[in-house]
């Protein structure tokens, strides 16, 4: 890891003005992604992970959106760029893979045209044969069989997995420094999910592209990422290496997430343990710790849990945002599965 990270997000806040009030979708989120690294952002729906991803691309638009904080890519603050400067970075420096590959592909153009367009936008002087070679090569690289023939096909003529491969090919055609994959496997069959994750991993290793993988699926995180950022209610609640998160989670929410997955692996030993309650409304976040109403270790009356938003602090190998004393927390968490 180098000293200056490829991406440094500091104090990112994104809020939306809605008729019901201001939604703070992302609140004081900070994290780094180093060159060539794979970082996962995990959280339930509404935890702010997709809004964070879109903020990195500056794709949250409209008069109702306000974004503050800084996003440094290679030391350049993306927030300070003009729209045109930002456009030139989109798809060239940062590329994105979306959740649903069917709706993400333009149904009116052949997939070859769409990959070609992604390349041409950033290589306006490229000649036809060159573009064609690039398209064939990149479709081949993501595992589209017979790319020369298939590049003339339209999106609806492909299966879901193949479509996602095409979206990935499009994202990688300009060899971006950072690839944001926003729930890239959620819309796919389980067997196809594994193939797509393998593909992302393989490409990451081959090209050295840093990957920011956004998912609600801890299984996906375990398989692919090195470092994990856990988000809840628009805030980062835990940040750790993937091993630490799975071996020694330090936040009650992470523990809850793990519990709801782990019981699946241990068939017969326990039932699926859902986190009680539901994710908070971002308009009316609970005061203090957003996770408090669902937390099994909540400190009760008079504790800071109900009054102060916890900040990230070192806990073992991780950093997490919890008011509980670190050793006490470790004891409690260890006791849960004991």
């Amino acid at each position: 890891m180098t000293d200056t990270p490829l991406l440094r997000v500091s104090d990112l806040c994104v809020s939306f003005r809605t008729p019901d009030g201001v939604v703070r979708a992302v609140d004081s989120v900070s994290f780094d992604v180093h060159a060539g690294e794979t970082v996962g952002i995990v959280g339930e729906s509404g935890s702010g992970k997709s809004v964070t991803a879109n903020a990195l691309m500056r794709l949250n638009f409209g008069a109702q959106v306000s974004t503050t904080g800084s996003i440094l890519l290679d030391g350049v603050d993306l927030g300070s760029l003009s729209e045109e400067e930002m456009r030139l970075r989109r798809g060239r420096d940062i590329a994105m893979v979306f959740q649903d590959p069917l709706s993400a592909l333009n149904p009116f153009y052949s997939v070859g045209d769409q990959v070609a367009e992604a390349y041409r936008v950033h290589h306006p002087k490229a000649r036809r044969p060159e573009v064609r070679d690039v398209v064939v090569e990149s479709l081949g690289r993501v595992g589209i069989p017979e790319p020369i023939k298939r590049m003339q096909s339209f999106p609806h003529e492909f299966s879901g997995g193949m479509r996602q491969r095409i979206v990935i090919a499009m994202a990688l055609v300009n060899s971006p420094r950072l690839l944001i994959a926003d729930e890239p496997t959620t819309a796919l069959d389980v067997t196809v999910q594994a193939q797509i994750l393998e593909l992302i991993q393989r490409i990451q290793q081959e090209s050295g592209t840093a990957v920011l993988l956004i998912t609600h699926d801890l299984g996906v995180i375990a398989e692919t990422t090195e470092r994990v950022i856990v988000m809840y209610g628009g805030r980062v609640v835990e940040e750790a290496s993937v091993e630490s998160v799975f071996e020694q989670p330090t936040h009650p929410y992470t523990l809850g997430l793990l519990g709801s997955v782990r019981s699946l692996d241990l068939a017969g030993r326990g039932s699926l343990r859902a986190i009680p309650g539901s994710p908070p409304s971002l308009i009316h976040l609970p005061t203090g710790c957003a996770f408090r109403p669902r937390c099994r270790f909540e400190l009760g009356e008079g504790s800071p849990c109900g009054t102060t938003v916890p900040t990230l602090s070192v806990a073992g190998h991780s950093r997490s945002a919890c008011h509980l004393d670190v050793t006490e927390r470790e004891r409690l968490i260890a006791g849960v599965d004991g």
Partner: protein, 329 residues
């Protein structure tokens, strides 16, 4: 794709035959005796009976229809000997009121209607789609309100009102134009256009309103599609994005409706042609109704139906070109 076009064409022909049969039978079932209508008030039974035989109205209805169809293909001669009248193919009947072959009447009024329709169509599509896109892109701003307001007014006002208002404003209050009198485009293109500006504008204002709303809604809907966001994420320029991604998708359903609206107009812009005194198919049809001129009525109805059927087929084929997803169908 070729198979698709072929199938569509065969279907269109079958449909046209069915429509012609229905039209013919329906108009023959009218209580008025077509033969009696061929001569004026002081008519003798002999004349009526002679005309009945001459025009073939004495035969059973299906045979009449057969003769009618034969006439379309081969031309038809009405009556025997000296007094016979020959209408060359495609013969759509003989109008006793006007003492002319119906085909000749239609072919004289069709260019007028086509002139009115094409110009109005171009104008209304430009106006409707243009304002619709503008409203969608400037959603909630004054441009949006102006466009939406225009659309509400256009929808609320009846055609004859807009037409009369246009005449009043542009020929009386602010006389920049003469009251339209139709001139052929070949005879004098300038006078042709000048005579048609008001009818074009009237039809455009009335019809464009629907298109403003459709385009606006379509564009807004497509703008929130994921593939548009991916286009942005690829770094596609905004104008390119709007044309290639947004308009392309938003216009597909509009093309369908536009095709049918255009065809309906070709069948005769009845009100507009009447107000502006344009000798088109619509006016011909209205006069035929007033005069109970059955052959002309049957023919104008058929022409209008033929345009609709044809437009339907063309729209379907266009749809196949526009949307790759329906190509296999």
């Amino acid at each position: 794709m070729l198979y698709f076009i072929l199938r569509r064409a065969v279907f269109a022909v079958v449909l046209l035959l069915a429509v012609s049969l229905c039209t013919y039978v329906l108009f023959s079932a009218l209580p008025s005796d077509p033969a009696a209508l061929t001569c004026g008030k002081n008519c003798t039974t002999e004349v009526i009976e002679r005309n009945r035989v001459r025009l073939g109205y004495d035969k059973p209805i299906l045979e009449q229809y057969g003769l009618f169809m034969e006439g379309i293909v081969k031309g038809r001669t009405y009556g025997p000997g000296e007094a016979a009248v020959h209408c060359p193919a495609p013969a759509l009947g003989y109008s006793f009121k006007r003492h002319q072959c119906v085909t000749a009447l239609i072919s004289r009024s069709l260019p007028v209607t086509i002139s009115v329709s094409v110009g109005a169509f171009v104008l209304w599509m430009l106006l409707g789609v243009g304002l619709g896109v503008l409203a969608a892109l400037k959603r909630g701003r004054w441009q949006d309100r102006v466009a939406t307001g225009f659309s509400v007014i256009g929808i609320s006002l009846p055609t004859f009102f807009v037409a009369l208002l246009a005449v009043l404003i542009f020929t009386v209050w602010w006389p920049v134009l003469d009251f339209p009198s139709y001139t052929g485009i070949l005879a004098n293109p300038w006078k042709w256009a000048k005579a048609l500006v008001l009818p074009w504008s009237t039809l455009a204002v009335v019809s464009a309103s629907t298109y403003v709303r459709m385009t606006r809604n379509g564009v807004i809907e497509v703008m929130s599609e994921e593939f548009v966001r991916l286009g942005l994420a690829k770094g596609v320029r905004r104008p390119v994005l709007i044309v290639k991604y947004v308009l392309r998708a938003a216009l597909v359903p509009i093309v369908t409706i536009a095709g049918l609206d255009f065809a309906a107009l070709l069948g005769g812009a009845v009100i507009t042609e009447s107000v502006f005194n344009l000798p088109g198919v619509g006016k011909l049809a209205i006069e035929a109704v007033v005069d109970s001129d059955l052959p002309v009525l049957v023919a104008t109805t058929l022409v209008a139906a033929a345009f609709i059927v044809l437009a339907n087929a063309v729209v379907d084929v266009c749809y196949g070109f526009l949307d790759p997803r329906v190509r296999e169908g």
